[in-house]
Symmetry: C2
DNA sequence: GCTTGACCTTATAGTAGCTCCAAGGTTTGA
DNA sequence: TCAAACCTTGGAGCTACTATAAGGTCAAGC
């Protein structure tokens, strides 16, 4: 199987497959005499595993760790649980942060309902005032939202 | 005011201030004879505006657009509303996506409650099966979570 | 006058997870 | 024989910073 066929089968871009190989997330396939990558069925499984984990928002580092357990199933799974728990907590924090953000944005949006010019735009006024005034309490909570994954 | 003082006053790193200047988000200050940046009160306002918008999760491109309206208040504010609405929608989508993700992760976590080895770890088994099976419906929704901002 | 330390400058490289492009080689079908 | 569709590598680009190196400046203390 050439890289293009694997790409179609897994709905993953060829470039991304090469990238995952370089990053050690999938094993390097055999090469044809002309240097083309020749994939086997096992690579489909490996790649799908990575893509599935990515779709669950895991980082490449986390997936590398899980892959190690996949390769050597004698290892303790406590670490797997810890990894998943950590990831759940991360996602939970992101949700909470984004919810607060959503509320702030809705409040901001309320300030301008009609289309005039920017001089009278309540949104802009609010943003400028918030930046200049000391009493702005709407952004004292940290925002940390690490990027998550692409569709699988 | 030197860059360090502005940094302390706004709780923004000096490097980041220079970066914002290079990106055109704040105006370039006058320089002393030795090349040091000399900031005025207006720069504090500009920088706080940027930081506040960042704390609301806006991208630098969005902030550039808002800054233009701030500089020229005769422009229509319809675009401001559109920008904010788009941003709210983005945040809303992120929240929905992350909520689905959270549920999937909780379901996954249920698969392994006790610490044995990875061979019998339900989490790993589930991940591997999900990757290999066709019938995995748990990751057909796209995940797009652009990074958001740091605390202000 | 000299040294020390805190400040400032620019330029460059690194982070995550890809994505895109250029310049070339290979294979397949008409 | 030729074109289209594939493949290769290497490098740059994206976001929003962060970190480092190598050097210049300035004020205080001795």
């Amino acid at each position: 199987m050439l890289i293009g066929e694997l790409a179609r089968e897994t709905a993953c871009d060829s470039e991304t497959i090469r990238f995952y190989e370089k990053e050690g997330l999938i094993s390097a396939p055999a090469r044809s005499s002309s240097g083309y990558r020749r994939y086997q069925q096992e690579h489909v499984g490996q790649l799908n595993f990575v893509l599935h984990c990515r779709s669950l928002g895991m980082s490449l580092a986390e997936i590398r760790t899980l892959s190690a357990f996949r390769r050597d199933p004698s290892l303790a799974c406590v670490e797997i649980n810890t990894l998943i728990d950590g990831h759940i907590e991360q996602v939970h924090q992101q949700i909470e942060t984004l919810k607060r953000l959503e509320q702030q944005l809705h409040a901001l949006r309320q300030r301008c309902q009609e289309g005039t010019d920017a001089a009278h735009c309540g949104i802009l006024q609010t943003l400028v005032q918030a930046a200049e005034g000391e009493g702005c309490v709407c952004h004292d909570a940290p925002l940390h939202t690490p990027g998550t994954a692409h569709p699988h």
